[in-house]
């Protein structure tokens, strides 16, 4: 069973007379494995929040199916096992942090003998214990995110949706949140993160999907996505003679690096194998061939540009 299953999901918003109909999601399909951290990336307006809202029954899909933890999203009882930190959340400002967690635990149907112990444990975890008797209206943005994260975990959920969880949090706080997410993963929880902060998603996520204008551009592990299949770093035993570089291997795009290795740009894996055959035929020894990685940010920007280019044609 997948924690999240989405099949051909389409969401069309009616924007009124002037704006017409806006497709927030277009035939979107996605599966999220249980026990993994899944990062959903995309520029503003890509449809990330719409997807989460459909999965939580806050918004309805125009077409398609969506399931969480094996149940259709229309079955609200399944949300007993789900936690959610919305973007720009507004909790009842007249409650204290402690009261909020108690209320959310009750609302989530969380039944345990020691709810106060659970509240204290979570407040300690998000470094908010000393503010537990303070009214939420007095909390800073960073504190709001921390208490928001605590409320998303209060019912010990199996699946947690986090929409921009580190928004407004300082670097130390971000590190602490990353550690909390890793801890939750180690307990077998599935975490679905929407974020603009690519570097963070790169660090914590097992799998990543990129969404643009309601369409899935790509999906895979961070390693898969950041491995650039067209660029390799090659080193040879000994120096490569200049005559070979400009002669037999002239048709290949080889660039010498400072450490005497080379980068090779090829169009596909067959081209790489052709190159290896050519080098071996010249009785040269290859020491290593390593695919080169780009950062998630480089890959993200390049894919979004490519996607926008296609859409504009």
């Amino acid at each position: 069973m997948h924690a999240v299953e989405v099949n051909n999901l389409t969401k069309i918003y009616s924007g009124g007379m002037k704006s017409g109909r806006i497709a927030a999601l277009k035939n979107f399909s996605l599966n999220v494995e249980e026990g993994k951290i899944f990062g959903l990336l995309g520029p503003n307006g890509a449809g990330k929040t719409t997807l989460i809202k459909i999965l939580l029954g806050i918004t309805s899909a125009t077409h398609g199916d969506a399931k969480i933890l094996g149940s259709d999203v229309s079955d609200y009882h399944i949300k007993k096992h789900v936690g959610y930190l919305p973007e720009n959340h507004k909790f009842p400002s007249y409650l204290t942090g402690e009261q909020l967690l108690k209320f959310i635990a009750d609302l989530s149907g969380y039944e345990t003998g020691n709810i106060n112990g659970r509240i204290d444990e979570l407040l300690e975890m998000v470094a908010m214990f000393k503010w537990k008797k303070t009214k939420i209206k007095k909390y800073s943005k960073g504190m709001m995110q921390r208490i928001g994260l605590a409320q998303a975990m209060i019912n010990d959920p199996d699946l947690i949706f986090l929409d921009e969880p580190t928004d407004g949090v300082d670097p130390i706080g971000r590190k602490e949140i990353r550690d909390i997410l890793s801890h939750l993963k180690s307990k077998g929880k599935t975490i679905f993160v929407n974020s603009h902060l690519l570097s963070e998603v790169e660090v914590i996520s097992d799998r990543v999907a990129i969404l643009n204008k309601g369409e899935l551009i790509t999906e895979g592990t961070v390693d898969d996505l950041t491995s650039n299949r067209e660029l390799y770093r090659i080193s040879f035993e000994g120096d490569l003679p200049e005559t070979i570089l400009t002669g037999e291997l002239a048709e290949y795009s080889l660039n010498r690096l400072e450490d005497k290795s080379y980068t090779l740009k090829v169009t596909n894996v067959n081209s790489l194998n052709d190159f290896i055959d050519r080098v071996r035929a010249l009785h040269l020894n290859i020491h290593s061939i390593v695919p080169q990685k780009s950062s998630l940010e480089d890959m993200f920007i390049s894919l979004i540009k490519e996607s926008n280019g296609k859409n504009n044609k």
């Binding site: 939580l56 029954g57 609200y76 959610y84 007249y94 409650l95 209320f103 989530s108 409320q151």
Partner: protein, 272 residues
């Protein structure tokens, strides 16, 4: 049921966090203190002399007690409901604010339970405030005049019921438009203008020649909640008079059920 009660409780907390209901409570307490002061500083014979209505002593005492009760209840019906509508009109738009509604809808509760929780919470707040004043007046007039008609206590139910009818409309408008101002204005329009005007339509319809206008007025009379007649029922209960007709209660109940159902229906269909 458990979820609805939880939301009712949180609505109570929200109401007390807003200063309006504390103010209402403070005003009620102030009125109670004034009455205590008036009763403590005057002799019972003063009231019986004022009445000069003949009959036995107990009957006179009862009438004076009723006079005080109506003196409190009728302004409570008008002014108290005015304040209550003002206070609760923002409940639904505040619930539906982005970032707030997401939290509630992501929990294992149905939208119907959520809206009913808000509805019952608002009613409970008003009932507690109204009951506080009504019971206090009943005890004070009872102690002072020895008149303990329990029917008077029903006026708290009658006022709360009138509020419940209007609050259902506030919920519907709040869900449909997310505007507290519009919800408040339409409710005041019905409570203070349309209902009294339609009740007295026999008097002004003679001035109008158009049958169409008369038909519309008649139709509106049966559709719109009969808050003016509910006021009359409240007054009868305060005076210890029998209630002539329960037709306003029945038709207003139908309005309540219909508007609340429509509000829930729209809420269940909306995207947030």
């Amino acid at each position: 049921m458990k979820n609805t009660w939880l939301l009712t409780k949180i609505t109570l907390q929200e109401a007390f966090a807003r200063k309006n209901f504390i103010m209402f409570f403070a005003v009620s307490s102030f009125i109670i203190l004034i009455i205590i002061a008036v009763f403590a500083s005057t002799d019972l014979t003063n009231y019986t002399n004022i009445s000069q209505m003949g009959g036995d002593q107990f009957d006179l005492r009862r009438k004076v007690a009723q006079f005080f009760r109506v003196l409190i209840i009728m302004p409570l019906f008008g002014g108290g409901l005015f304040l209550a509508i003002f206070s609760v009109s923002s409940f639904i738009p505040a619930l539906l604010e982005k970032g707030n509604i997401d939290v509630f809808l992501s929990k294992p509760i149905s939208r119907t339970q959520l809206l009913l929780g808000k509805y019952f919470g608002g009613i409970l707040v008003v009932f507690l405030n109204v009951a506080y004043l009504v019971v206090a007046i009943w005890i004070l007039t009872g102690v002072k005049f020895g008149a303990w008609e329990a029917d008077f206590l029903l006026s708290a139910v009658s006022i709360t019921f009138t509020f419940a009818v209007l609050y259902a409309l506030i919920i519907l408008i709040g869900v449909a438009t997310q505007s507290s101002v519009l919800a408040m204005m339409l409710t005041y329009l019905i409570f203070f203008i349309l209902s009294p005007l339609l009740l007295a339509r026999d008097k002004w319809e003679t001035l109008i020649k158009s049958d169409l206008v008369k038909s519309i007025a008649d139709m509106l009379y049966y559709i719109i909640p009969k808050t003016s007649e509910l006021g009359t029922i409240t007054k009868d209960l305060a005076l210890g008079n029998p209630v002539d007709s329960f037709q306003p209660v029945i038709s207003s109940s139908l309005f309540l059920i219909l508007t609340l159902w429509l509000g829930i229906f729209i809420f269940n269909k909306k995207d947030y």
